[in-house]
C-alpha cells in the first residue's frame, strides 16, 4: 500500500513507519496528524479521545509521538493518586529532574503553572488522561485526554473549555481478523492461522470484542489447535476435524480462562496433560466449596430458607400440623417479587434457630458451639451480618450464597431444599 499518511512538515519515511505500526487505524491517525499540524504551528489546545478498551487509542498516540519525535509527556491517571505525582511526572518529562525538584511539598496547581511558565518550552505536548486544565499557559501546549467514558460525564457544572471530541471506533470483525492474523507463528502457514482465528472469533466474538483478551486467548489455545496436526492425524486443510477438536476446548476456556477463574499458567499445564488425567479444573469459585461440619450445613440451609421465604410462609413449611392453608391466602406471585430475583432478605437470629430446629432431625441443644458456628459462617462470608455490631441481643443476618451452592450442600445431607422454597411451589 502506498503511503497513507501524508503531511508536509514530517518526513515521509517516518510517516510510512508509523502507518506500518498502525493497521486499521490509518483514518484516525491521519485525523490526529492533520489536527496537530506541522511541528511549529499551533494546534487545538484540548482534544478528548474516547473509545472502547483496546481500540488503539494510546497505541496510536504513542506511536505518532515517538516516531515523529514530538515533545510530549505521558501521564496515567490511574497511577497518579495525588496531583503532586501528576505534576512531578509532567515536569520530569518535559524539563528534567531540576524542574521537578522545584515543586514544593504539597504543590498546588498554582505552583505547577508557575514553574511550568518559568521553563522555556517551544514544542507540542500531550498528556494522557489528565485532569482538565484550562489553557492558562499561553504557548503551544495541547492536552490530549484519553478515556473509555464519554465526555458528557466529565463536564463540570459551570462549563469549561470544551475539548475537541474524537471517537476511535471499535474494530470490525474483519479488522480483528486482520490484526490477530499478524501474530502468526512462523512455522505454520498464514491460511492455517487465519482459519484458527476464524474459529476463535466464531466462539468468542459474540461475547467479547476486546482485542487484548482475544490475543491472549489466541496465544493460549494455539498449541491445542495444532496438536492433531503434530500427531499426524489430520492435514492442515482438514478444517472440519480441526474444528471438532478445538471447539469444546474453547467452550471450556470461556468458562475458565476468560473469566479468570484459572490462571493462564494452570490452563497451559492442563493442556499438556492427557485428557483423562485432566479431570475437573478447579477454578477460583470452586474454592468456596469448603467442607462444612454437619450442623453448619444445616444452619446454612436454614439461613437460606429464612432469607428467601417470606416469614408468613414458615408456618406452612415447618410445622407438623399447619392446618388447611387456603390458596387465596397466597397472593398471586408476580414474577418481579420472586425473591430469587430481588435478593436475600434479612432475618433475625430467632427465626434462624426456629427453622434450624425444625429442619435438623436429631435433638440439638442450644449450646455455645452452635452459636459459634453461626459466627464462623459470617467470617466465611456465607452469611452477612446486617445489623450494627453493637446490637448484641437481636442480630440480623442475610444469606449470601447462590441457589446452586445450597443445592450442592443440601444434596450432601440428603435434604431436598427445593421442596421447602416458596418460589418453587
Amino acid at each position: 500500500m502506498t503511503a497513507l499518511l501524508q503531511h508536509p512538515g514530517y518526513d515521509e519515511e517516518k510517516l510510512r513507519r508509523v502507518a506500518e505500526q498502525l493497521p486499521c487505524r490509518e483514518v484516525q491517525a491521519g485525523l490526529l496528524l492533520s489536527l496537530m499540524g506541522e511541528p511549529q504551528q499551533y494546534s487545538y489546545p484540548s482534544i478528548f479521545i474516547y473509545g472502547h478498551r483496546a481500540s488503539g487509542k494510546s497505541h496510536v498516540l504513542h506511536v505518532l509521538l515517538k516516531e515523529l519525535e514530538l515533545h510530549h509527556a505521558t501521564v496515567s491517571c490511574v497511577e497518579c493518586v495525588s496531583v503532586a505525582l501528576l505534576f512531578e511526572q509532567v515536569l520530569l518529562s518535559f524539563f528534567g529532574c531540576d524542574a521537578a525538584s522545584l515543586l514544593p511539598r504539597s504543590p498546588s496547581l498554582s505552583d505547577f503553572v508557575r514553574i511550568y511558565r518559568q521553563q522555556p518550552v517551544t514544542m507540542e505536548t500531550s498528556s494522557h488522561q489528565t485532569v482538565v486544565l484550562n489553557p492558562v499557559v499561553e504557548d503551544n501546549v495541547t492536552v490530549i485526554l484519553l478515556s473509555e467514558i464519554v465526555w458528557d460525564k466529565f463536564r463540570p457544572n459551570t462549563g469549561c473549555f470544551e475539548p475537541l471530541l474524537l471517537h476511535f471506533p471499535d474494530y470490525s470483525k474483519g479488522e480483528l481478523q486482520q490484526i490477530l492474523s499478524q501474530d502468526r507463528h512462523p512455522s505454520y502457514s498464514a491460511e492455517f492461522y487465519s482459519s484458527y482465528i476464524n474459529i476463535l472469533l466464531g466462539v468468542f466474538y459474540s461475547v467479547c470484542r476486546d482485542l487484548r483478551e482475544l490475543r491472549h486467548l489466541a496465544a493460549l489455545n494455539f498449541s491445542k489447535f495444532c496438536e492433531p496436526l503434530e500427531e499426524g492425524k489430520v492435514k492442515e486443510t482438514d478444517t472440519h476435524k480441526l474444528w471438532r477438536n478445538i471447539e469444546p476446548h474453547l467452550k471450556k476456556a470461556m468458562q475458565t480462562v476468560y473469566l479468570r477463574e484459572v490462571s493462564s499458567l494452570q490452563w497451559e499445564q492442563m493442556q499438556l496433560m492427557e485428557e483423562k488425567e485432566a479431570g475437573a479444573l478447579r477454578g477460583l469459585s470452586a474454592h468456596t466449596h469448603v467442607e462444612l461440619p454437619f450442623y453448619s450445613k444445616f444452619l446454612l440451609i436454614a439461613a437460606y430458607l429464612a432469607s428467601y421465604n417470606p416469614a408468613r410462609t414458615d408456618k406452612r413449611f415447618f410445622l407438623k400440623h399447619h392446618g388447611k392453608i387456603r390458596k387465596t391466602n397466597f397472593l398471586k406471585k408476580n414474577e418481579k417479587t420472586s425473591n430469587h430475583l430481588l435478593g436475600p432478605k434479612p432475618f433475625p437470629l430467632d427465626r434462624l434457630l426456629a427453622i434450624f430446629y425444625s429442619v435438623v432431625d436429631s435433638r440439638v441443644a442450644p449450646t455455645a458451639s452452635i452459636f459459634s458456628q453461626i459466627s464462623s459462617l459470617v467470617t466465611l462470608q456465607l452469611l452477612t451480618q446486617v445489623s450494627h455490631d453493637d446490637q448484641l441481643d437481636a442480630p440480623k443476618y442475610k444469606c449470601a450464597v447462590s441457589l446452586d451452592f445450597i443445592c450442592a450442600i443440601s444434596r450432601t445431607v440428603n435434604f431436598d431444599i427445593v421442596k421447602y422454597l416458596y418460589d418453587f411451589l
Binding site: 508536509p8 512538515g9 472502547h52 466474538y205 473469566l259 430481588l342 449470601a400
Partner: protein
C-alpha cells in the same frame, strides 16, 4: 521616470497552504486578539474609560465582566489592556496582578501569588498570614508604591487586580480575599482597580453582605446578542485571509471560495444548527478547526462537504458511538434492561432480573443466541458498568451481593433504537425482540 509597479508575488502552493494554516491556526487555537472586538463597542469603551481613570487619574474602581462561556470576556479585557498600555503614562505606572480561581484555590495561595507578582518577596519574607487583615493589604500596597516612586508621596502607583473565574473566589472561606480587595479599593490611598471575570450571571448572589456592600455593583454584560446573519458574517471574516498575505492572487481566490462556501444552502443549514445550540466563539473555532485540518496541498480550499462532515463530527452522540462497539451479549443485556424499564416504569433492576429477562427471550424467540453461563453474563454486565452505561443506585453497596445490586440504565430509549439500526450484523431476532412492545 519608471513607475513603480506593484509586483504580484506568486509563491508555490505548498508554501501558501502552510502560511494559510499558520494564520488560521493562530486565530482558532491560540486565541489571537483582534484589532477591535466586534460587536462589543459599548462595553469596550466603558471598560477602557474605567481603567484609564484608574491608571492615569488615580481613581479606585471595581467592575465585574459577566457573560456566558466563550462570549469574549477575556478577549475584551486583553484588548482593553493592550490599548491602555500603549499610553506611556499607564505603561510606566500601572502594576498588574493576574489571579485565576482555578489555580489559586485558597486564600493563602492567592496571597502568595500576589506577593510574588508584585515582587514583594524580599519585603515580606516567608511569612504568610493565615487570617489576613486589611492593614496587611494596605501595607503591601503602600510598600510597593512607595518603593517605586520614592520622591513623590502624593502619587502612588495604581494596581490592577484581574480575577479570572471570579465565582470560584467567592467559595473561599469567609471570602477574605474579596473582602480585603474591595475594602482596599474603597478606602485606601493607593488607587486600586479590581476587575472580576465570571461566567455566572448570578455571581452577586454568591457574595456575602459585607463584600457586596463594598463592591461598586458595576457590571459589564456580554450577552452575545447577535443574530444569525452576524454569525455568518463572523464565519466569513474568521476564515478570510488578511490583506497583507504574500501571494495576493492566492488570497483573493481563497477569499472568494470562502464567500461561495458561506452562500451554500447546506452550509447555511449546518451553521444554523450550530448557532441554535450555542452562539459562542469557542464552539465556532472548534468547527472551523476541523474544517481547516482537511486543507492540504492536494485540496487547497474548504468545500461545503468539509463543513458538513465537521458539523456531523461535532454534533454526534458519543454514547451511540460507544454502543456500536459492544458485543452482542452486552447489547442483548441492554435490550433486556430496556424492556424491564418499560414494564416496571423505570424502577431500578439488578443482574438477576436482567438475566432472567434474557433467558425468557432465549427460550421463546431466539435461534441465534447461545445460552451463556451466569459468570459470563456477569462479566458482560460489569463491562457495561465500567463504561458507565449503567450506574448503581446510591445505597449500601457493601452489604449486597454483586448480582443483587440495584442499577439504573443511563441510556435513552431513542439512543438504543438508533444504535440498533447502525449495529453491524445484528441478528434479526435480536432486532425484533428490541422492537416488540413487551419482553
Amino acid at each position: 521616470m519608471s513607475k513603480r509597479k506593484v509586483k504580484d508575488v506568486h509563491r508555490p502552493i505548498g508554501e501558501c497552504i502552510t502560511q494559510v494554516q499558520q494564520i488560521l491556526r493562530e486565530r482558532f487555537c491560540h486565541q489571537q486578539l483582534p484589532d477591535r472586538p466586534e460587536g462589543l463597542e459599548a462595553q469596550y469603551k466603558h471598560l477602557l474609560e474605567l481603567l484609564r481613570r484608574s491608571a492615569i487619574q488615580g481613581e479606585s474602581n471595581s467592575v465585574l465582566i459577566v457573560g456566558p462561556r466563550g462570549a469574549g470576556k477575556t478577549m475584551l479585557l486583553q484588548c482593553v489592556l493592550r490599548d491602555l498600555l500603549q499610553e506611556k503614562e499607564a505603561q510606566k505606572n500601572l502594576l498588574q496582578v493576574h489571579l485565576n480561581g482555578l489555580l489559586q484555590t485558597d486564600d493563602r495561595i492567592a496571597l502568595k501569588e500576589i506577593t510574588r507578582q508584585l515582587n514583594l518577596e524580599n519585603v515580606v519574607g516567608d511569612k504568610v498570614f493565615v487570617s489576613v487583615q486589611t492593614e496587611y493589604y494596605e501595607q503591601i500596597l503602600e510598600n510597593k508604591t512607595a518603593e517605586k516612586s520614592p520622591g513623590d508621596r502624593s502619587s502612588s502607583r495604581p494596581v490592577l487586580f484581574v480575577l479570572d473565574e471570579f465565582d470560584l473566589f467567592a467559595h473561599h472561606k469567609n471570602q477574605t480575599l474579596l473582602y480585603n480587595l474591595f475594602d482596599v479599593s474603597q478606602s485606601a490611598q493607593t488607587p486600586v482597580a479590581v476587575v472580576g471575570v465570571t461566567c455566572r450571571l448570578d455571581v452577586l448572589e454568591l457574595l456575602e453582605k459585607r463584600v457586596k456592600s463594598r463592591f461598586s455593583h458595576r457590571q459589564i454584560h456580554l450577552l452575545s446578542s447577535f443574530g444569525f446573519s452576524e454569525y455568518l458574517q463572523t464565519v466569513r471574516t474568521q476564515l478570510s485571509l488578511p490583506d497583507d498575505f504574500t501571494d495576493r492572487g492566492f488570497a483573493q481566490d481563497w477569499n472568494s471560495s470562502i464567500q461561495t462556501l458561506c452562500e451554500d444552502k447546506s452550509v447555511e443549514e449546518a451553521l444554523q444548527r450550530h448557532f441554535n445550540s450555542s452562539k459562542d466563539f469557542r464552539s465556532l473555532h472548534m468547527l472551523l478547526m476541523l474544517c481547516l485540518s482537511r486543507v492540504s496541498v492536494s485540496k487547497p480550499s474548504i468545500k461545503p462537504a468539509d463543513l458538513l462532515d465537521a458539523s456531523r463530527l461535532c454534533l454526534c452522540d458519543a454514547k451511540a458511538n460507544m454502543l456500536h462497539g459492544l458485543s452482542i451479549l452486552e447489547l442483548c443485556l441492554i435490550i433486556a434492561m430496556k424492556h424491564l424499564n418499560d414494564v416496571y416504569e423505570g424502577e431500578p433492576f439488578n443482574l438477576q432480573m436482567v438475566h432472567n429477562e434474557f433467558k425468557k427471550f432465549l427460550q421463546r424467540k431466539s435461534n441465534s443466541m447461545y445460552n451463556f453461563e451466569q459468570p459470563v453474563v456477569m462479566k458482560a454486565f460489569e463491562h457495561l458498568q465500567q463504561l458507565e452505561l449503567i450506574r448503581p443506585v446510591d445505597g449500601s453497596s457493601a452489604k449486597t451481593q454483586r448480582e443483587f445490586q440495584l442499577m439504573r440504565l443511563m441510556l435513552d430509549h431513542s439512543q438504543i433504537m438508533e444504535a440498533l439500526q447502525k449495529y453491524p450484523q445484528c441478528p434479526t431476532d435480536v432486532k425484533q425482540w428490541a422492537m416488540s412492545a413487551f419482553g
